[in-house]
Symmetry: C2
């Protein structure tokens, strides 16, 4: 059986995880390294994954009352500087426009690294009364951060994302929004991308520049490293004060409103790859796979085979599945390997004998399991196989997360777990940033989050030995 050249070129995960990742990303044609350092081309297959994720998120944003808008690409330096913590966090990685047409600009303009300042500027002009609140906005766009080292999907100088920005009359309402959107993200990660999540609060050290609180979703990759997968921020009224956004409340007094922002990026695609992929390549979550079912005719030169395959493909499409027929002149074996490498959740094989028997063979990407499927009921059964694939993928990833999240009481235990097993380590923490820094120096891990509603992992901080009540999950992160 001829094997696709693409498949042969994928390094095994165990041999070199980083190389495996790069191989999958390029061989599955998700990404092309562009001529501009740190910038990537999202090719059709990679972009189609993003489009499907976008649709899932956008529907949920609209169901929760959010409206899409478009803000300018460029931020005047004076605007970026209005909120001090924010500018400190972002100025070092800004790209600056200094020339427009042939004229030297009087004030240089930064390509947005994030758009809090632009939303604030707009709101300062347009919000007057409690009747104008809440503002529940979202923007789909790309942002720029001049990173030193980059990797496909995980760290780009330019990346695609959505950034939600909302403005509320009260702090309570804003905090509720921050948490609501984290739950929307968790819903998409778990029920769409089959990625179990760890939700929690970031420590002050790891907070977003300018935020009072940053909520995060952390996922565990195949190599047991953490991927910060999206974040949701509560700003209090700090930005409102810095940008002089005020509103007249129902009681006729002038107040500062409270603000949030939350973002989800193409980094999630890196997470999908490193959570579900295997040595044969990509394994795509069924609900966002650009092609959910690939129909491969076998002995397609035999009369009737191609016609029946085409008919089957159309039936699947009419049933709402993203099905495709591979009519190329490659051999069936080549096609099997190719679509496997591209992570298509279900392959259907259909040959003359299958047609005679009124069936086709459905092969699951996740484990290669073959099922005879009656042609008559194919759409419903394929849908079941997709649902089941999702469930198995989630369960596998959940088992990995659970097995590799361990509790430690002493620094010795932390170091032992990290060096022997890796994964996440849970400890209590005194709350002192110095201990957080020392944890990184001694055990090589950073705080991933203060998880929600977790039982206490001990009584004293493993670093300083002082009484501690906060539980922190530590890990090595991308």
């Amino acid at each position: 059986m001829a094997v696709s050249k693409n498949v042969e070129q994928i390094t095994s995960m165990d041999a070199d995880f980083a190389q495996w990742y790069t191989d999958v990303v390029t061989r599955a044609e998700l990404i092309d390294y562009s001529g501009v350092k740190g910038f990537f081309v999202l090719r059709p297959y990679g972009y189609a994954i993003w489009e499907n994720i976008q649709a899932e998120l956008d529907r949920r944003f609209k169901e929760t009352g959010h409206e899409n808008v478009s803000m300018p690409l460029l931020i005047p330096e004076s605007l970026l500087q209005k909120e001090k913590d924010h500018v400190e966090g972002f100025a070092p990685e800004c790209a600056w426009v200094t020339l427009g047409g042939s004229e030297e600009l009087e004030e240089r303009l930064c390509i947005r690294p994030t758009s809090e300042t632009l939303f604030c500027d707009h709101w300062a002009r347009t919000v007057r009364s409690w009747r104008d609140l809440p503002r529940l906005y979202n923007q789909w766009c790309s942002v720029l951060r001049w990173e030193k080292s980059t990797r496909p999907f995980l760290r780009h100088r330019e990346f695609l994302w959505q950034e939600g920005h909302t403005l509320h009359a009260t702090a309570e309402e804003a905090i509720e929004e921050t948490e609501r959107m984290l739950d929307v993200y968790a819903d998409v990660y778990e029920n769409v991308l089959a990625m179990p999540v760890l939700k929690g609060l970031k420590t002050d050290k790891e907070k977003f520049a300018g935020a009072e609180r940053t909520y995060t979703i952390e996922c565990m990759m195949h190599d047991k490293k953490a991927l910060q997968s999206c974040t949701s921020h509560y700003f209090g009224d700090g930005f409102a004060r810095a940008f002089d956004i005020t509103f007249t409340d129902k009681d006729n007094t002038l107040k500062y409103p409270f603000q949030t922002s939350w973002g989800f990026s193409t980094r999630s695609i890196g997470g999908i790859i490193m959570t579900h992929g295997d040595d044969n390549g990509l394994v795509l979550p069924p609900y966002i796979a650009p092609v959910q079912v690939i129909v491969v005719p076998v002995a397609s030169h035999k009369p009737g085979v191609l016609d029946r395959a085409r008919e089957l493909c159309n039936e699947l499409r009419r049933a709402g599945l993203r099905a495709k027929l591979d009519e190329t002149d490659n051999s069936p074996g080549w096609k099997f390997a190719e679509h496997e490498m591209r992570g298509v959740p279900v392959r259907i094989e259909l040959g003359p004998r299958d047609i005679e028997a009124g069936k086709c063979v459905a092969v699951r990407r996740i484990d290669g399991e073959k099922t005879d499927v009656a042609l008559e009921t194919a759409p419903a059964l394929i849908r079941e196989i997709l649902d089941l694939s999702h469930n198995i993928m989630f369960a596998r990833a959940k088992a990995r997360l659970d097995e590799n999240t361990r509790t430690a009481v002493t620094m010795g235990e932390v170091k032992k777990i990290i060096s022997e097993n890796g994964g996440f380590v849970k400890t209590v923490w005194c709350g002192d940033e110095a201990c957080e820094i020392k944890m990184k120096e001694d055990a090589g891990v950073t705080s991933r989050c203060i998880p929600f509603g977790d039982e206490r992992a001990g009584d004293v901080c493993p670093v300083c030995g002082k009484p501690a009540s906060k539980t922190v999950v530590w890990g090595v992160a991308y």
Copy 2:
């Protein structure tokens, strides 16, 4: 009856068309002037119009085999310079990034004014064989052009658009594609936006920088001026040669492929406003209106009214209509004026007596005509009113285009038509650019296009008197 403040502030069209336009754009909350000169915020209502247009276009692109991708935002100067005509056209209006983080860049980077060079760069790396062709790509993004003067939707320094880029094995196929996409655009303009189109070829003078042929769609606005509404370009193999894109054809020889690009932008929203709007404000084409039906309860404090209005709104939604209930505490009169100003195609009034009679009153935005509609059959009837509104809007605009497109044989006739009536003037033209320039100097009009399949408007060029066979449509353009 209380009238909305917003409505009072709209200047009448006849008094000052430009001011009327600005009033509509801002009072209907489509746009906010941002703090950065020439950059605009698309507010929720304006962006929702764009999202609906996007959905209509994107579906058609996919049905014709196109795939979406994402290219970098920035173009290295050396890349931009590879195609000489192209760089000459765009370099004067580029915004340049010269600083990344804290480092001065070795080569300055231009924010994309259009992405031909980036697509070429990608294709030069990834296209090898006839099997890789055609490439049918599209990108949704924003682009930057450092314009001197700007106007909402019509001319921004940054604007949202889609840019299709395709690569083909033969010139014939590429030309077919260029024309196919022009037809897709025409379909959307006429059958979705209710805007009749004039299709044709641009003269060499008005061509896109680097194109062999530029096809255009020109629409006539309320003030009889032309709006170049979108374009489709055929490049021959010029870009392929400049970027060294080659492929091995079936006959095993190395060839240069042929290329197209085509773009449709938020400028179309300016076109919608100036085609359909009136002195009461916006008039939105029903198929892209963010709110197609606004339900206004009358005497809503009376028992049962609000409940029945809510029920009706939900029924309309279930039937697939974009319906909204206005539950604010404003007076019905205020609401009528407000939604009229915002261009909502159908208003439904529902009061206690209507409910008793088992009906509601539907009011068409286009002419205020009122129809009693049985509550039982409301969704189907409202849909008919929307369809009819579309047809009437198209017919009105078509009548305006036809009535104001006149034929002239001499320069005297051209000048008389333009000064007395305005609109479009059709003449023959010798093909000499000098005559095109003189036409502008003498009559103040530019060539809009060489229309398709038109009968000849005369025998000699009205400017130079030489024999002429091409027909050109002239006009004053935005």
